[in-house]
């Protein structure tokens, strides 16, 4: 079987912040009734983290649960687990109204790390990234320039950013431009 690679293996830029392509990550889209007990246990059983509230992400290492919409969850798992975990969720929710899809290969994931990470992201997204408005634990679907994206903060200085794989090069170039060390803003 052919070896799977991420969109931009090893892509890295050390500027105002460190931009890196994070490699392959398992991502499972789960749609259904987020209030249902069975869905809760299926999702937390696979991810091993607490179920997130509205607009939240609970991520530990390569595992996580991200609140995408009132009826949609993004489940993060190690890449090698994605197919098996998707099947496990489908089995656990059999007979209930739901949809589960392994979308790992449709996505790319970047990290932006450093004290200026908020600034760099704020150049690209219309969302409010003031520390009072966006903190670790929150999850935001929005856009980076013209690309749909979602991000959360792993810690106070590190963003993890998800985008469509087909836009990986565009999003990486955006991040590199925003992280140009000659263009600091000093807002946050």
């Amino acid at each position: 079987m052919a070896e799977t690679t991420s969109a931009l293996p090893g892509a890295r830029f050390d500027g105002a912040v460190l931009i890196e392509e994070a490699g392959l990550r398992g991502m499972i889209t789960l749609k259904g009734d987020l209030a249902a007990t069975r869905l809760h246990s299926a999702a937390t059983g696979v991810a091993g983290v607490d179920f997130p509230g509205q607009g939240e992400a609970n991520c530990v290492g390569e595992h996580g649960l991200c609140w995408m919409a009132p009826d949609e969850l993004l489940i993060l798992v190690p890449y090698a687990r994605a197919a098996e975990d998707s099947a496990a969720i489908a089995t656990a929710l059999a007979g209930t109204h739901h949809l589960v899809t392994n979308v790992s290969d449709a996505r790319v994931i970047f990290t932006a790390a450093g004290p200026a990470a908020r600034e760099v992201l704020a150049k690209l997204t219309p969302a409010d990234l003031h520390p009072d408005s966006f903190r670790p634990g929150q999850f935001r679907r929005t856009r980076l320039a013209q690309a749909p994206a979602a991000y959360w903060m792993r810690d106070a200085e590190t963003f993890e950013i998800i985008a469509f794989r087909s836009m990986a090069a565009y999003v990486f170039d955006l991040l590199v431009g925003a992280a140009n060390p000659a263009a600091p803003v000093g807002r946050y």
Partner: protein, 109 residues
């Protein structure tokens, strides 16, 4: 710049994260309607200076449609509400009346 709070996410979404869907609370002219009624349903829209009700989609977010009430002259946002209604919530209309006494909308008549 317009900022609308998506009633499904609770997110204050920027205008550029949203897709406009035009005038809200339009009733489709069904089978048996006259050509004039169908034409009105398809093409005739309010263009008020003042209170207006619109559909918006949180397209760069949760993807859901919702409703918003705003003033077209000042861009003051009176509120946003669920898409699963055929008229604005009463509380919202009362709030608007407090701010724009005597406001009118065609679906109220």
């Amino acid at each position: 710049m317009l900022i609308l709070r998506c009633p499904y996410c609770g997110i204050d979404a920027d205008e550029t994260e949203l897709t406009p869907g035009g005038e809200a609370h339009i009733t489709r002219a069904g089978p048996g309607s006259s050509d004039a009624e169908f034409e009105a349903y398809l093409f005739l829209r309010e263009n008020p200076k003042g209170v207006h009700f619109e559909r918006w989609r949180h397209s760069y977010g949760c993807g859901k449609w919702f409703h918003a009430a705003r003033c077209t002259a000042t861009n003051e946002v009176f509120g946003t509400y669920s898409a699963q209604v055929t008229a604005p919530p009463k509380e919202l209309c009362q709030k608007i009346s407090g701010k724009r006494p005597g406001w009118l909308s065609r679906w109220l008549s």
